[in-house]
């Protein structure tokens, strides 16, 4: 059986996690699309912590009926792995975007260099200035 104290501690931990996540979303410091996975994690852990009979049953299925809290740890680790994997995909996208932006900036700056080099000597030339204005 799951010791009651572990259930209480886990429930408090999960509730705290949920509170922090909600607070971060409210303060716009966590985008909803990244928060979703965290919310699912928090809710799942809270359910597993409070639903003691369920935890015992699942532990029995998986052959760790003598120590059901192992299921809590296993679930927590699984969700952490899921979140990390999600971050890796986000990071990969960000890296690609970052490279694209840097390239774009460099190419645009090269164009500006050319434009400025062209513009400087013709500033005294009224025809060119008129053309540019027109």
């Amino acid at each position: 059986m799951t010791p009651v104290r572990i259930s209480i501690a886990a429930a408090i931990g999960a509730a705290l996690l949920l509170l922090i996540i909600l607070e971060l979303i409210r303060g716009r410091r966590l985008k909803e699309r990244y928060a979703l996975l965290w919310l699912v994690t928090g809710v799942a852990l809270l359910v597993l912590a409070l639903w003691r009979g369920g935890l015992n049953t699942i532990a029995g299925w998986l052959g760790v009926g003598t120590y059901p809290p192992a299921i809590l740890f296993a679930a927590a680790i699984m969700f952490v792995i899921a979140v990390l994997l999600h971050y890796s995909t986000v990071l990969s996208t960000l890296t690609d975007d970052n490279v694209l932006l840097a390239q774009e900036v460099a190419l645009l700056r090269a164009r500006i260099d050319v434009l400025e080099a062209d513009a400087t000597p013709t500033r005294k030339n009224p025809a060119a200035t008129a053309r540019r204005a027109g």
């Binding site: 690609d96 975007d97 490279v99 840097a102 390239q103 460099a106 090269a110």
Partner: protein, 241 residues
């Protein structure tokens, strides 16, 4: 008249870059030179500009693959017919450049690679570790692509518009040449190798030391298999065009 641009990636090469640019211009003054300064902390950009090159300065170091790709994007944006890639350290001999242009001019190839091993360069004897690596990748790429390739690590390449468009869109990152070879063959572009001489590096040391070449071999082999297994060779999302 075909317009040609030489793409020269350079990272902290102020000692070599001037000579590289001047040499290309000496071979053919009609070839435009664009130096892609990959976030150098020295005077690479100024030296290159003084030597008569256009300079594209990346705001920070992106690595060789992304730097070369920047050059190809430059070539694409400015509508060049042909882009030639030479390294900024001077190891590629610009006087060999016309050899690379011949198969392109005849329309026989989309990409021409200067190979150190296709009977051209008897003097080129890289250290054992690197020779093994080069042979390994040549075999692997030949098997994967079904075309005999002798030098997959050579960055001395000439590209026509189709190849420029492909590489501007999608180019591998860290040690790009091997993967790029697979990529272009996967896109059914025609690759031709011509024998060239290459020089010892004029300044600095090669970025590939023995320990790193082992890491390199493993990493690139994985990347190759991933490249072959990728659903689409060209990412549709986030592509510049």
């Amino acid at each position: 008249m075909t317009s040609i641009v030489a793409v020269v990636p350079a990272f902290d090469e102020e000692a070599a870059i001037g000579a590289v640019v001047e040499e290309i211009r000496a071979v053919d003054p009609l070839i435009d030179v664009v130096v892609v300064d990959d976030g150098s902390t020295d005077g690479t950009a100024d030296v290159a500009r003084a030597a008569g090159a256009a300079v594209v300065r990346l705001p920070f170091n992106l690595g060789i693959g992304a730097a070369v790709q920047t050059g190809f994007r430059y070539a694409l944006e400015h509508g060049y017919d042909v882009a030639v890639r030479l390294d900024g350290d001077g190891q590629h001999d610009a006087t060999e450049l016309p050899k690379l242009l011949i198969p392109l001019g005849r329309g026989e190839a989309d990409v021409v690679t200067g190979s150190r091993f296709r009977g051209g360069d008897d003097a080129y004897r890289p250290p054992l570790g690197r020779r093994l690596g080069i042979t390994w990748f040549a075999r692997l790429v030949s098997i994967l692509s079904g075309q005999k390739v002798t030098d997959t690590t050579s960055g001395f390449q000439a590209l026509n518009r189709d190849a420029i468009a492909l590489f501007a869109r999608d180019y591998p990152s860290d040690y790009p040449e091997v993967e790029a070879t697979v990529l272009l063959l996967k896109h059914r572009l025609r690759l031709v190798e011509v024998p060239v001489r290459m020089r010892e590096r004029e300044h600095g040391s090669s970025s590939i030391t023995l320990l790193r070449s082992i890491y390199y071999a493993i990493k690139v082999t994985l990347a190759l298999l991933v490249a072959m297994a990728r659903r689409s060779a060209v990412p549709s999302e986030g592509s510049p065009r």
